[in-house]
């Protein structure tokens, strides 16, 4: 009864395939049924009633990138931590728990120092420090 060893991933592939195929298929079926009379007015972007003004490419503020940056650093950190953390109990029962504990703590404290640095230097503040600091900087995006 040795199933093919990779069968364990079959539902994953099936589900992702269904997720990807469901959208085009439903839209195609809908296209046959649905009324389709595109009109110039309907095609314009929604602007609470007024005519849309200018393109949408106002340059955004840098904060969005800082959030993504900190996210990816901590994401990679957790990716590295998962196998070590999963193995901790085994080593703990073997009596080598102290060694692993120290390794994990060093790994974590280095990165907590990074977060603390960003916090203190004001990278995590969202609005306050920018609007306060540079009143002159009108910035399209100051929400």
């Amino acid at each position: 009864m040795a199933l093919d060893l990779l069968n364990i991933y079959m539902p994953v592939v099936l589900l992702l395939a269904i997720g990807v195929l469901a959208v085009p298929i439903t839209l195609l079926i809908g296209r046959l049924i649905r009324p389709a009379n595109p009109s110039q007015l309907k095609e314009t972007a929604y602007e609470c009633g007024e005519m849309p003004v200018g393109g949408a490419w106002s340059s955004f503020n840098i904060r969005f990138y800082v959030v993504g940056l900190i996210f990816i650093i901590f994401d990679v950190e957790s990716a590295l931590m998962f196998p070590v953390v999963a193995v901790f109990n085994k080593f703990n029962s073997l009596g080598m728990g102290g060694l692993i504990l120290v390794e994990i703590l060093i790994f974590l404290l280095v990165l907590i120092a990074g977060l603390a640095y960003c916090w203190r230097r004001g990278d995590l503040d969202w609005v306050k420090s920018y609007s306060a600091a540079n009143r002159s900087d009108s910035g399209v995006e100051n929400e």
Binding site: I62, Y65, L69, I72, I73, D75, V76, A79, L80
Partner: protein
């Protein structure tokens, strides 16, 4: 459309190369050596690639803020 040589497109290319090499390591370690070192090494390749992408994109954004375009030739002068 975007005719200029966009720096971000080059960063995309770099991601591709790092992926290709990581895949190589895993394949060789499985078929030739049969131990796990290949996988460990490609894990660290992913870590380095992520850090590199983060810093590279920060530089590109800063570059854009300074002189409004991310055209590769503008990046000629060093002091920026």
């Amino acid at each position: 459309m975007l005719a200029r040589k966009n720096i971000i497109a080059i960063l995309l290319g770099i991601e591709l190369i790092l992926n290709a090499s990581a895949l190589n390591f895993v394949a060789y370690s499985k078929f030739l050596a049969g131990n796990m070192d290949g996988q460990i090494f490609s894990l660290f390749i992913i870590v380095v690639a992520a850090a590199e992408a983060a810093v590279g994109l920060a530089i590109v954004i800063r570059f854009y803020q300074i002189n409004e375009s991310i055209h590769i030739d503008d990046a000629a002068q060093l002091q920026g």
